[in-house]
């Protein structure tokens, strides 16, 4: 593409999780003196734990009850967080800006009506005529609106309807790779001048048995009493899903300056790739991606928000990669933010990027989130944060978030 890449600023953050709603609920973690503890529901889905969403007053971001009724949980969480991000960036309600805001969403499956599924399965029990019975049961059991809750692209559709974001709309899928593809897409379009203003993110409703089933088929879930991410490896590994909605407003620097929007931080870049993980390839791939992304970075302490899920063996491979950074003079200060808010799958990278931008703007990093010894104390202004995304099954990627060099950081 002709011309130098344009700087990508984070000018809005919308975050809801088990810890609460909005910037301040999450900024409260950002101090060496903070003692954040995960919020968990360990009983409802035993032997699985989940991080439940903090209670929300949905009407603050989704005023129409009819809109709320047309969505299921994951969509309501996402639409709510998207609204927070738009308001934070000063875009909400600005028709001229919303008309050219590009929407980039990372999404998985919508929600099933698990009660209907169970009714059908019980009626089918022991019967051979699956097809006929399913037809007898399904047409009366399925609700038309639920279909729209199940389509991956309907989180984006609902954000357009509720918040009037209409510039463009793309939904990426593929578990954690969806988050990488979405962030990478928006950042590259801004850098290359293919767009100025983007709303990027995703959401996960962890409190769903149908979601748990999808991941437990591959034995990806952590079972039993809660442990932080780095302490699951020797017991077989696994992730603890966390309900989360995370959206960022990403904006070309010139566009933000022209409208007087102040940045939290800039996204220097997002890089990604895939590999087979049979012989520890993810660690080597991490180093190659780091060399691409961070070639101009000065050495020394490097705060890392690791998106590690806790699933074996990739969590250990990611740790091998991070520990190998010291041979290049970097001193990685690691925090697996999944230990605190749970694993957000498609929304996990956006959550990490939001926390990174927040730590940079507040000039304070998170305290260690466990006693594993992996996470060492750090005091001071992070200035830059490496966010990692090594998917529980596939896909490796990194994002580098840095302080804006001069002027008005918020």
């Amino acid at each position: 593409m002709p011309g130098n890449p344009r700087e990508v600023w984070v000018t809005g953050i919308g975050l809801v999780s088990s810890l609460g709603e909005g910037i301040e609920a999450h900024a409260a973690l950002l101090s060496p003196a903070a003692r954040p503890a995960p919020i968990l529901n360990e009983s409802a889905y035993a032997p699985y734990s989940v991080h439940p969403l903090a209670p929300l007053d949905l009407s603050k971001q989704i005023p129409k009850k009819s809109d709320q009724r047309q969505m299921e949980g994951w969509q309501r969480i996402g639409v709510y967080a998207a609204g927070l991000a738009l308001a934070d960036a000063g875009i909400a309600g600005n028709a001229e800006l919303l008309d050219r805001t590009g929407l980039v969403v990372a999404a998985g499956s919508g929600e099933r009506d698990t009660a209907v599924d169970c009714t059908v399965l019980e009626k089918l029990d022991g019967r051979e005529d699956t097809g006929v019975l399913a037809k007898e049961v399904l047409p009366s059991a399925l609700r038309p609106t639920l279909f729209l809750a199940q389509l991956s692209n309907l989180l984006a559709g609902n954000i357009s309807v509720v918040h009037n974001v209409t510039g463009s709309s793309r939904t990426f899928m593929g578990e954690e790779m969806a988050g990488l593809a979405a962030a990478e897409n928006a950042v590259r379009r801004i850098a290359a001048g293919q767009g100025d203003l983007f709303l990027v993110g995703g959401s996960l409703n962890a409190e769903r048995e149908d979601l748990l089933l999808g991941y437990e088929l591959g034995h990806n879930l952590w079972r039993g009493p809660f442990r932080p991410v780095w302490e699951r490896h020797e017991a077989g590994g696994g992730f603890v899903p966390g309900s989360v909605g995370a959206f960022l407003v990403l904006e070309a620097r010139g566009h933000a300056e022209a409208r007087g929007a102040r940045p939290y931080a800039k996204v220097t870049g997002v890089v990604s790739d895939r590999c087979n993980r049979t012989h520890g390839e993810a660690a080597e791939l991490g180093l190659r991606l780091f060399a691409t992304l961070c070639s101009g970075l000065s050495d020394g302490p490097l705060p890392v928000l690791s998106g590690a899920s806790g699933v074996a063996p990739v969590t250990q491979q990611e740790l091998d990669f991070l520990r190998a950074l010291d041979s290049g003079g970097f001193d990685p200060i690691i925090r697996a933010y999944g230990s605190l808010v749970g694993h957000g799958v498609e929304a996990h990278l956006a959550t990490g990027m939001a926390l990174a931008a927040l730590t940079i703007s507040r000039q304070n990093f998170l305290p260690p989130l466990d006693d594993s010894g992996v996470e060492r104390p750090f005091e001071g202004d992070p200035g830059r944060v490496l966010v990692t995304s090594f998917g529980h099954w596939r896909g490796e990627g990194l994002a580098l978030i840095e302080a804006v060099a001069e002027g008005g950081t918020r």
């Binding site: 593409m1 002709p2 047309q70 999404a107 998985g108 499956s109 599924d117 169970c118 399965l121 089918l124 029990d125 699956t130 006929v132 399913a134 037809k135 007898e136 399904l138 047409p139 609700r143 038309p144 729209l148 389509l151 692209n153 309907l154 984006a156 559709g157 357009s160 309807v161 009037n164 974001v165 209409t166 510039g167 463009s168 709309s169 793309r170 939904t171 990426f172 899928m173 593929g174 790779m177 969806a178 990488l180 593809a181 590259r188 290359a192 048995e209 748990l212 089933l213 999808g214 437990e216 088929l217 591959g218 990806n220 079972r223 990604s272 790739d273 895939r274 087979n276 099954w393 896909g395």
Partner: protein
Amino acid sequence: MRDSKGRPVVVVTGTGVVTSLGLGKAENWAKLTSGCSGIRRISRFPTDGLRTTIAGTVDFLDVTPFSAPALTMAMAAAAAEEALAEAEIGEKGAFPGPLFLATPPAELEWPQRRLLWEAHAGGELTGYKRLLAAARESRHADLQEKFQFASVAEHLACRFGTRGLPVSVSTACASGATAIQLGVEAIRRGETNAALCIGTDSSVQLEALIRFSLLSALSTRNDPPEAASRPFSKDRDGFVMAEGAGALVLESYERARARGAQILGVVKGCGEKADDYHRTRSRPDGTAIIGAIRNAIEDAGIAPHEIDYINAHGTSTPENDKMEYLSLKAVLGDHLEKTPISSNKSMIGHTLSAAGAIEAVFSLLTIRTGVVPPTINYRNPDPAIPLDVVPNEARRATVRTVLSNSFGFGGQNASLILAAL
């Protein structure tokens, strides 16, 4: 070579297609230009009692054991093989660029759910607790590898050796066009000289059929099946679900020329616009559809009167076909009357996530062969939609520039401008 905006020109050097009409371009094009329909009675599952019993299924590929993602993969792979063979690009299993895949959302279906239910028999557990126990007790790696959202793209990336993160995208019925747009943008940014763009969809499953039926979106004119899809006719009553895949090898013009590749056409412009009116209906004034078409024309750097043919979204629903006409009229004005427009969906049905890619392949064949495929089943024109729909029989015409439309549930609209070099 740069386009009017100083960007690398993006050309197509290989295409492949699978639809209910058959495997490959030769069979598809022969049938499409002779007005054959691929719509038939569904034999995959019993349909007694259902309001809709027909679809454009792909039943001729060997997919054992059968599942929707397995068919999605098989069709995508077949289309990609054809496109790669035509493009003669890269070593076998080492495509020199990324994969952009339009694919339907992944979801366990009733056979799998039932298998799990029966795997944990005799206990006290009920409902999803029983399914979860079955999942816990034995590893179902085969299910996990097929029913993750990344599964189809991962499989294709390994098979064809594409570079980087395999990208899966969904903009509902616009997905196939969006996959092409992603490839065009990556080449224009200079990130790659080639991209493999595929749209694939195997959604003719019992529950999906019932869901679309509950939205009153499907034609219920089951008899005869081939007469059900009648885009732009007054008596159109809904779309016909269908399966298929389309694949395109995109390259920068420079790289294609440098390696002496055959150039099949140019992707001149891509446009998109999201609707904020309703989850399944477009804004009555057509703002978003008009926006997508205008953006594509603007991106291509052409004037509306340069469009020689329109490959319509043309789903055969009362709503779509009316809105598509009104929006085209708003953008093309009087030029619309002189512009032939036809809907491939009259013959192959609505291939959903794959439609944009399949219809781009057919648009390029129109440009290269000078034959415009017809809109079949056009016996009862809708006076509110005065269009030259190329009724019932193919027509010879010199076509250099095609507008191809794709509009999706969720208000996600995309249009492409495809042209001769």
